[in-house]
């Protein structure tokens, strides 16, 4: 009995893999080869090269240095513009997200069983998500004129698209047991949704809303495009004149505002979704607890009222606008079929850039995501990484595009780098959240079995969060495919630039065919990614 292990080993026999396991492995391997092959082909096609990047470092460094000496001289003009942006972002986010919350139930398989209805609701939701914000901007400007209303509407639709999709997925993953209990108690579907499912999804929903809110503040360029003003206008002006010191002052301001908002809302969220304080029977607390829901409604209403405060909602030229919108639509619905060959080329370029950019981001985001997670990284590192990621997200895509164009020259490669680095900020944040929500038991079990940090990562953490990581990456891929601006600035081709040109010169039939192309492409991606996920998850 000196070495029990040896005795145990003495009776070994070999166990081959069962046949079905073999084919599954083969299929996974094949999938991997295809994905990797596509990456390799696209990399060659877009002339990705590390040495070019390294050679570009001096010039990129020069830009960074210029960027890190903020000039706050004009701050008095930026602050009101920022407040204006926040107002519009609040309005757009709130309205869009509230609509999305209700709508998400209509698009969730576990709430709507009729296939036809589901098909229609999901279709509309996906369409809204697919339509580029540029097109929304163009339409709203025609109908509602330049200004805040169009800006808010563009943000409403944008927020709706994202929040509805993510929320309906969360609803589909919810535990339906409580819902059944409510049905059995005689509740209507609405009540069941609100009482049994909403509390379950509320934390995630709130984090989606916050996430979109953050985007809405940062992507203030859209507001500029519809003449809604905001912080995007001076930012764009500064960048156009290569006044990086001013641009960085503006961005710092935005950054601070976003951080403040994020911290406050995280605090509120914790208070809202985490346990009640122990039953203290003080009267005001009791009242607060009892009227929590109406108070929350009041809070939202107050925020909305503030966000519309002093904003000029001109609705004068509505009839002229409708007339124009009618012509725009009729143009869009008569797509310019002859553009198809060029369109296909551009779409393919978009796919290549988005694929490589997302791949780059998905890999880069891995370490950052883990460093950002409170439950696997030391607290200071996690907090620091989160702030850093927030900074990465604040750095405008336009600026990144310029940096990489200076580094590696114009073209697809610069586009890939810009898309990739920009996406890291978002992906790593979402990765981190997924890791934080993970069950830590298996990690402990692996540590107890003598695994080192990487072993724990590979066998306890990674397998648990893989599905989330994949769906976030795929989701980001979809966004990157549509993202017009970055890729357009560096002249990398893709579908963004032609769309922008067609919109600017009112060539609606071409807008129509491009839109059709994007919709088809995004739907294909959706289907394909669903298949890939089923295979890997």
């Amino acid at each position: 009995m000196a070495d029990p292990a040896r005795r145990f080993r003495g009776t070994l026999s070999a166990f081959p893999f069962p046949p079905e396991e073999g084919t599954a492995r083969l299929r996974n391997a094949a999938l991997f080869v295809v994905l990797f092959g596509l990456a390799a082909y696209a990399a060659a096609d877009t002339q990705v090269s590390v040495s070019a990047l390294v050679q570009g470092f001096p010039y990129m460094g020069r830009l960074f240095v210029a960027f890190f000496s903020p000039d706050f001289a004009d701050i008095a003009r930026y602050v009101p513009a920022l407040v204006e942006t926040i107002q519009m972002a609040v309005a757009g986010t709130l309205i869009g997200s509230l609509l999305a919350l209700g709508y998400a139930f209509l698009a969730a398989r576990n709430f709507v069983s009729r296939r036809g209805t589901l098909w229609a609701t999901r279709g509309f939701m996906n369409l809204v998500r697919t339509i580029p914000d540029l097109l929304f901007a163009a339409l709203f400007v025609a109908v509602f004129g330049i200004g805040a209303l169009s800006g808010i509407l563009a943000l409403v639709f944008f927020s709706f698209g994202i929040v509805a999709k993510l929320t309906s997925e969360t609803i589909e993953a919810a535990d339906m047991g409580p819902a059944e209990a409510l049905y059995a108690a005689g509740a209507t579907p609405t009540v069941t949704a609100a009482y049994a499912v909403l509390p379950q999804i509320l934390p995630q929903y709130l984090s989606y809303v916050l996430y979109v809110f953050e985007i809405n503040i940062r992507v203030s360029t859209v507001l500029g495009l519809v003449g809604a003003g905001g912080i995007g206008v001076p930012l764009k002006a500064a960048l156009n004149l290569l006044q990086y010191d001013r641009a960085s002052a503006i961005l710092l301001l935005v950054f601070v505002a976003v951080l403040l908002i994020e911290w406050t809302s995280q605090y509120l969220r914790r208070r809202l979704t985490e346990g009640e304080p122990p039953a203290v029977s003080s009267r005001p607390l009791e009242v607060l607890r009892r009227f929590r829901t109406p108070l929350a409604f009041l809070g939202v209403a107050a925020a909305l009222a503030w966000s519309f405060w002093g904003i000029d909602l001109n609705t004068k030229g509505f009839s002229v606008g409708l007339h124009m919108a009618g012509r725009i639509f009729s143009g869009i619905f008569h797509p310019e079929w002859s553009y198809v060959p060029e369109l296909l080329v551009a779409l393919w370029e978009s796919v290549e850039i988005a694929y490589l950019g997302t791949l780059l981001a998905a890999v880069l985001a891995l370490p950052f995501g883990f460093w950002a997670a409170r439950n696997v990284a030391p607290a200071p590192l996690a907090a620091g990484t989160k702030v850093f990621l927030s900074a990465v997200r604040t750095f405008p895509e336009l600026m990144l595009a310029i940096v990489f164009m200076v580094g590696v020259g114009p073209g697809a490669y610069a586009g890939i780098l810009a898309v990739g680095v920009h996406s890291v900020g978002m992906l790593a944040k979402l990765y981190g959240e997924a890791v934080e929500a993970m069950d830590m038991g298996p990690a402990e079990a692996l540590r107890a079995a003598g695994a080192d940090g990487l072993g724990v990562f590979r066998w306890a953490i990674f397998p648990q969060v893989l599905p989330e990581l994949l769906s976030y990456a795929i989701y980001r891929f979809e966004i990157n495919m549509r993202a017009a601006t970055v890729v357009g600035v560096v002249g990398a081709g893709g579908i963004g630039a032609p769309l922008l040109f067609a919109l600017q010169s009112h060539v609606w039939p071409r807008v129509g065919i491009i839109l059709l192309g994007i919709v088809v492409l995004v739907s294909l991606t959706d289907a394909l990614s669903g298949a890939i996920r089923r295979r890997l998850v």
């Binding site: 108690a185 509740a187 009540v191 039953a279």
Partner: protein, 269 residues
């Protein structure tokens, strides 16, 4: 107990069949009447149709043919609004408790009251004071009044199931359906829950229909036993008649230690 036959039945199954889309037969020509105040245990092997039987009553599943009546009205032909009114009178307790984990115990119990109020009121969470009183009363009955403001996920499994019982109680129902309410609980806790159900049955006169896997529990708590096999009622009688032979007939095989909640040990003891 009065003789059941002297009163109107509360639940009537009239030649009920349920065939699942897969072709599996859930209920096969079941005709049965349950009387007010009864404590009925439904026993049978896995797949015998116990769950199907219970869920047919409040129409969580639609039956294929036949008709079911609750308190004299057809469940089968009820409109959605009528059905919701009926469901309000039927409490249900699930094996997995089905609480909303993130809500407090009190909020979960108040969920039993939603059938009584218009949608907007429930959406705003504005329950009248009386409802809170009813809910607290229900919690007291299961000895959990002190946990009213604790979040449901902070309770042990047994406590969660007692909250679920309180929720059913808060409905002020005429009938409680319980689908293996103790299958995921340890034996000590299981008894606490079964005790609760019996007390409710005795003291409030609420009819209780409970699916049980374990022979000993069925014997100890029920007045009447309904044996299902392959969707058919193969035994229906007072618990005194439900001998080991009857159970072996219902199960179609000799009893094993797994049919007893307490397993081997009880057999040994």
């Amino acid at each position: 107990m009065d003789a059941p036959s002297s009163r109107e039945p509360l639940v009537v199954f009239d030649r009920v069949r349920k065939v699942y889309p897969t072709g599996a037969v859930g209920l096969d020509d079941v005709s049965v009447a349950i009387y007010p105040g009864e404590f009925v245990a439904i026993v049978g092997l896995s797949g015998a149709g116990k769950t199907t039987f219970l869920r047919a009553i409040n129409r969580l599943i639609e039956i294929s043919s036949g008709e079911i009546f609750f308190a004299g009205r057809s469940v089968t032909r009820a409109t959605p609004a009528e059905l919701r009114r009926m469901r309000r009178d039927i409490g249900m307790v699930f094996q997995n408790f089905n609480l909303v984990k993130r809500l407090t115990v009190l909020q979960n119990v108040l969920a039993g009251r939603v059938g009584y109020h218009p949608t907007w009121r429930v959406l705003l969470g504005l329950f009248p004071k009386e409802d809170v009183a009813i809910a607290m009363k229900a919690l007291e009955r299961v000895h959990l009044a002190d946990k009213a403001y604790v979040r449901a996920d902070q309770l042990s499994g047994g406590q969660q199931q007692r909250v679920a019982v309180a929720r059913a109680l808060a409905q002020e129902p005429r009938l409680i359906l319980a689908d293996e309410p103790v299958a995921s609980l340890d034996p000590v806790t299981a008894e606490v829950i079964m005790d609760d159900l019996r007390r409710i049955n005795r003291e409030l006169g609420i009819t209780v229909l409970v699916n049980l896997h374990f022979v000993d529990l069925a014997r100890r708590y029920a007045d009447r036993i309904l044996g299902l096999r392959a969707g058919k009622v193969v035994f229906d009688g007072p618990v005194s008649e439900a001998t080991d032979e009857v159970f072996e007939f219902i199960y179609g095989r000799p009893l094993t230690r797994e049919d007893m909640r307490t397993g081997e040990v009880a057999a040994r003891g």
